[in-house]
Symmetry: C2
Subunit: 532 residues, 2 copies
Amino acid sequence: MAGDQTVKATRRDLLSMIGMAAGSAAMYRAMTTLGLAAGSDYAGPIRLDGDPKGASVLVLGAGLAGMTAALELRNAGYEVKVLEFNERPGGRNWTLRGGDTYTELGGARQSCGFAPGLYLNPGPWRIPYHHRALLDYCRRLGVALEPFVQLNHNAYLHSASAFDGRPQRIRAIKADLQGHVSELLAKATQQGKLDEAVSAEDKEMLLHALRSWGALDDDYAYKASLLTSAYRGHAKDPGGGPGAAPTPSEPLGLSEVLRSRLWRYLQNFSAIEFQTTMFQPVGGMDMIGKAFGRALGEVIRYGAKVTRIQQDGGGVTVTYADAADTSSVAQEKADWCVCTIPLSILSQIPIDVGAPMKAAIDAVPYLSALKVGLQFRRRFWEEDEAIYGGISYTDLPIGQIAYPNAGMNGGGPGVLLGAYTFEGANGYEFASMAPAERVARVLDIGAAIHPQYRAEFDNGIAVAWHRVPFTLGCAGNWSEEARAAHYDDLCRIDGRIVLAGEHASYLPAWQEGAILSSLDAIGRLHERVVGG
Amino acid sequence: MAGDQTVKATRRDLLSMIGMAAGSAAMYRAMTTLGLAAGSDYAGPIRLDGDPKGASVLVLGAGLAGMTAALELRNAGYEVKVLEFNERPGGRNWTLRGGDTYTELGGARQSCGFAPGLYLNPGPWRIPYHHRALLDYCRRLGVALEPFVQLNHNAYLHSASAFDGRPQRIRAIKADLQGHVSELLAKATQQGKLDEAVSAEDKEMLLHALRSWGALDDDYAYKASLLTSAYRGHAKDPGGGPGAAPTPSEPLGLSEVLRSRLWRYLQNFSAIEFQTTMFQPVGGMDMIGKAFGRALGEVIRYGAKVTRIQQDGGGVTVTYADAADTSSVAQEKADWCVCTIPLSILSQIPIDVGAPMKAAIDAVPYLSALKVGLQFRRRFWEEDEAIYGGISYTDLPIGQIAYPNAGMNGGGPGVLLGAYTFEGANGYEFASMAPAERVARVLDIGAAIHPQYRAEFDNGIAVAWHRVPFTLGCAGNWSEEARAAHYDDLCRIDGRIVLAGEHASYLPAWQEGAILSSLDAIGRLHERVVGG
């Protein structure tokens, strides 16, 4: 390396240096051989080859299923129109910000008082990495994403009946369960108690693995040390200068951990639907719905409440009222209909379909859920408790507290999700309360975990999904029996009508399910159109 | 809930509704009682009370330690000057972007060819949530942060000698180890083999916990099922419409998992230093150094290579040369000196300190490390493999491959970290190679994990820390013996000189260590100044 040489390694230089010049195709073959292709039911952008010859499609609902159908069918040459109940695109893809108002079933109207830049996603709020279709539409529509933090080791697990109601850091429960389990198994292994189950060679390796994975000492014990503190946290954290050595913390006992039942939350962080890396759109989930809406423009007729869906051999006729003035009625006709109206609503609308599809439409109850957004004057969870994003779980009726994943460490006010719970699961009937009362109850309950709630609260908003006028629930709640009996009938094209939405997928309640269902439905519809 | 009521829940309304009106102080007491105060050696912004009466301090080095000292001492009324070797602030807080050049020891000069917006952080690249001092300076200096993904369940664990060299998804190794360990322990428990170690009551709870945590079936078996696939991934992912039900994947056998030794990487994601939530500054780590640099402005003299540090009862005299023209020599005098020059460099500079401090300066070898940034023409890891951010670990000499955490899902070219390895750990001597050769070797090795490397490579840059002129290594590598013998002597004020930096902390190699060391050092210095 003599003298002053300017080296800029470029692709061209290096392909030869590394002695390989295989082309792209060879690379992908190699990749497939290695088994690295990403598992996903989504096989890339849909191809609707063949001329629809001017066929028209009426799409009901401008949620993600409806807008996906509209976008792709329009691109394939169909004449497309969308009828949407709300005055905005997105459906359950929805974000509330300061200045928004929301009127629930029963007439209670809330005004959102959040500061600029803060928001609540009452519906979907996170996107798994393997939801490839949704991610692909985000990319194609230019929706910027940022990480959504599901597991924050410094957030809490809490039970009113464990540790005298004191919340525990997730890192401590996680490390201590893993450590104690590893110690128990290592000792049983050493004592020859697993000789039937594990070969002698594997036994040695198992002991190595348990020591590493469980943070065990040389005697396979899980106990207070700088080693275990490196996972569960220190009693005194390290610092700078003299006297700043860290000191170990004392692990919780196995019995304490087991009896706390806090371990039951740990798998919430490991399920494939909640694994890292998850995403959220920058600025709110409705950035996706808005991007679809912009792409479709005039194709969507907003404020249209569908009241009847008719079909005969010649086409489909949909009657709808103006959502703001239901005495004003109109009709729309098309050759085909893609109906994405949630079954909770669709089951109340007269529709000309056969008995099997009608039975399927009526077979699916809808889940309810409560989400409450609370704005606090300062981000005390960050400033006081070093909790940046993520979720604390509790057995109190609020279910969880989720911290905002945007604007972290920036100071100023913040909005956290003060409750996300499924109605009835805990005996609380939030939906029957007035919105302000829901907010007050959630504040009161949550103060057991964050006492700062009382001093720092500014304003809040509550969405109880059983009272959301356009869905009357948050998602279809298929039982195994109902799915076996009705799912295929729900999905089958009935004359000139096909249904789509998360309810017509194996990814219920997820936006990905809505999109995949829609792509599947329009694929089959298109085959019929160009094949017929 | 009759009629149309406008409800906006505000703090004022609700404090009375929830029947509590305790003030802020009571809240914080309650919080402390609950044990929720964030553990951190950093106790908030330093207070340097008392008048330094015009005392002057010369700070050597404009890394984070030096700039923290300069900022706080200036704010406390000292006359402050900083001498810095580089032409930029930050030291190891450093980012390389397109258009930058870097000349290493030996004269090899690299030009960075990255596309706009892409970068490599050759030094620190992630910030743990509990590095409260660094986070506080980021907040005070307006440095925007975004999440850094350490654990990506869909990234790989790889060993050349396991699974025929095929990389395994982290989620599979993680779920399968946890599942098999849970099954083994549950069965031993059921068979009464743990009766000595676990009480009858705990035994029942342990079985519940293992079933939940290990994804075991009702017979405590870990085997192919939709349950285990919900953690490790499906063979066929769920989709929309008919025929889109998911199918289970087959877990790896216990023996396979153990013999692969891939379990050894799992704790890299659980150690407190790497736990969620981690951060990176938006746009590159040097946003922090630049923000400090802007705050200090003219206080910093760049391009100054310190050649001698003298002191007597009256003050400190530092001789320095122009880094670009070492024949041009000057001197700077002050009452006190805070020296943050890395020990690897300082040990070569004549300095008037006592034998104990000199011995300490000479006692600490420096770690070397290699980081290689590779730009690819497309983000194949995202597009082909659904890997968004995070790190794949391998036992190949590249150590790891880290995927960019910014611009995810946005398309276009991307820069990944193609190697992050510690010199000598694997028998490779990257530092002795020319930079382009390092890049080529890293590409060649990494193609075993990502065959797309060969077709998609664009350009690269390699930083071998043993050849970085301003540190000759990446961080002080204290042995336990050296720390016991020399650490306190290193930190003690010697006449008018005090040292600071990550090397003078219990957080070696971390930026937090540099800042905490600096705050500790100037606190002690200030006491001496105002007390003397």
